[in-house]
C-alpha cells in the first residue's frame, strides 16, 4: 500500500518544527515514530500534504528527575521507557505499561509524545498517564502552556492540541516502584487492548484508569470513590463500568467490554495491593 504523495521536511529542534508546521498550514502533520501515522497514511485514512519529521529532534528524548516529579521528553521511545532505571524506581507503573505497547519493533520506534498526541482510547500510555494525573507541556507559536491529563483527551483521536502546537514534555509524579498493576486483555500478544485496567497508588489514594471503554481513556471514578470509602477491591470493582460508554466492534460487544472492565479492575486492584 502506497500513501498519497506528500512533502517531507525535517526539523532539528522543537521551535523549528513548530515554525515549519505553521509555514505549511492546516494539512501539515508532525511525524514522530510513525507507528500510528504511517499505517493510517498507507490506508489513506490520513492524507497530510506535508510531514514535519521530528526524528532528529534529539534533545527531547529523556527521563529526568525534576524534584517533585519526573520529566519525560515527548520523543522518548517506548523501548527507552521500558529499560529506564529512574522510571522503574520512581514511576514503575509507567515503565510496566510502556513494556506492554505493541511488540519490540513498535517499541523501538514509537514515542510517548506520539501516543499521547494520537489520543487513541485503545492505547496503553494515555490511560496510564490519566491514572497518574500527568501534566503535558505543550509548545506553540505563542509559547508554552501546561495541560492536565484530565483535560487533554477530548474525544476519539481528539486532544487539546491545536494543529500548530507540539507536545514537548510529559510530567509524572514520583509514585515509586511498586503498588500498581496493568491488566491488559488482548487476543494476540502484539495487539491493542480489547479492554485494559490500570490501578496505581498515587499520592496516598488508589487511581484506576480504563483502556478502550469509551471515546477517550477514562478514570473509573466510581471505583475510586468506593475504595476511598473503604470498599473491598472486589466490591469497588463492581462499579468499573459505571458511566462508561464503550463501543461495540468485531472483538467485543458493549456488554462484554463492561464485564471485562469489572473483572480486569478487580484483578488490577488485587494485584496492586498485594
Amino acid at each position: 500500500m502506497i500513501p498519497a504523495a506528500f512533502d517531507y521536511v525535517r526539523a532539528s529542534s522543537a521551535d523549528e518544527a513548530i515554525a515549519l508546521i505553521q509555514a505549511h498550514g492546516e494539512d501539515a502533520k508532525f511525524l514522530a515514530g510513525g507507528m500510528s501515522l504511517i499505517p493510517l497514511m498507507k490506508l489513506r485514512l490520513a492524507t497530510p500534504t506535508v510531514l514535519v519529521d521530528l526524528g532528529r529532534v534529539a534533545d527531547l528524548s529523556y527521563v529526568t528527575d525534576a524534584g517533585d516529579h519526573l520529566a519525560i521528553g515527548a520523543l522518548t521511545r517506548h523501548r527507552f521507557l521500558e529499560t529506564n532505571e529512574l522510571l522503574t524506581k520512581e514511576c514503575g507503573v509507567l515503565r510496566a505499561v510502556a513494556a506492554q505497547v505493541g511488540d519490540n519493533q513498535v517499541r523501538h520506534r514509537g514515542t510517548i509524545g506520539g501516543s499521547v498526541a494520537h489520543g487513541d482510547p485503545a492505547s496503553d500510555l494515555p490511560a496510564a498517564l490519566l491514572a497518574l494525573d500527568a501534566t503535558f507541556v505543550v509548545r506553540g507559536p505563542g509559547g508554552e502552556r501546561t495541560v492536565p491529563a484530565a483535560d487533554f483527551f477530548q474525544g476519539f483521536l481528539e486532544t487539546a492540541l491545536a494543529p500548530d502546537e507540539m507536545l514537548v514534555e510529559v510530567r509524572v509524579p514520583k509514585v515509586g516502584g511498586a503498588g500498581f498493576s496493568y491488566q491488559k486483555f488482548q487476543r494476540r500478544a502484539q495487539d491493542w487492548a480489547i479492554v485494559g485496567a490500570i490501578a496505581a497508588r498515587v499520592n496516598g489514594g488508589v487511581h484506576v484508569a480504563l483502556v478502550n471503554m469509551g471515546s477517550t481513556p477514562v478514570r473509573a471514578s466510581a471505583v475510586e470513590a468506593a475504595l476511598a470509602q473503604g470498599a473491598s477491591p472486589a466490591d469497588a470493582a463492581e462499579h468499573a463500568a459505571d458511566a462508561t460508554e464503550p463501543a461495540a466492534d468485531l472483538n467485543a460487544s458493549v456488554e462484554y467490554r463492561e464485564h471485562l472492565a469489572r473483572v480486569l479492575t478487580r484483578r488490577a486492584l488485587e494485584a496492586a495491593s498485594s
Partner: protein, 150 residues
Amino acid sequence: MTVNGQPQAHDVEPRVLLVQYLREESGLTGTKIGCDTSSCGACTVLLDGESVKSCTIFAAQADGAAITTIEGLANGDEMHPVQQAFHENHGLQCGFCTAGMVMAAVSLLEEVPNPTESDVRLGLEGNLCRCTGYHNIVKSVLAAAEMVRK
C-alpha cells in the same frame, strides 16, 4: 544511509517506504512484505542495530542510518549464529517469515543475551509464522543464544 555496510544514495519520493527502497532501489529482495499493515514482521530489518518493521518507516526517515538486512548477516560463507541455528533446528518451513524472524531474533539477542523461552516468545511477538507453530523457531533462537555464548 548504509545498507549492510555499503554506503548508498538514491533520490526517492518521500512516500517510498524503507521496504520498497531496499527491494526496488537496493535490489535486496530477502526482506519480504507479508501483510503490509505493520502486523506480521516479515519485513523486519535492523536500523542502527534495532529491529524495525520496514513497511512502517519511510526511506527518508532512515537517511543517514545503518540498515542491516538478512543479506548482510553472514560473514562470507559463514552463516550468522542465528541463521545457523534456524538451519540446524528446522526453524523454518516455507521460509516466508524467516528473514524477518531472524532479524528480530538478532535484535532480541543483542538486548537479552541470555533469554528464557518466555523471553523469546514475547520478544518475537511482532513476528507471525503460518507454518511452524513457533516451536522450532523458539528452539532455534535459544540454540543461537547458546552458540553466541560459547
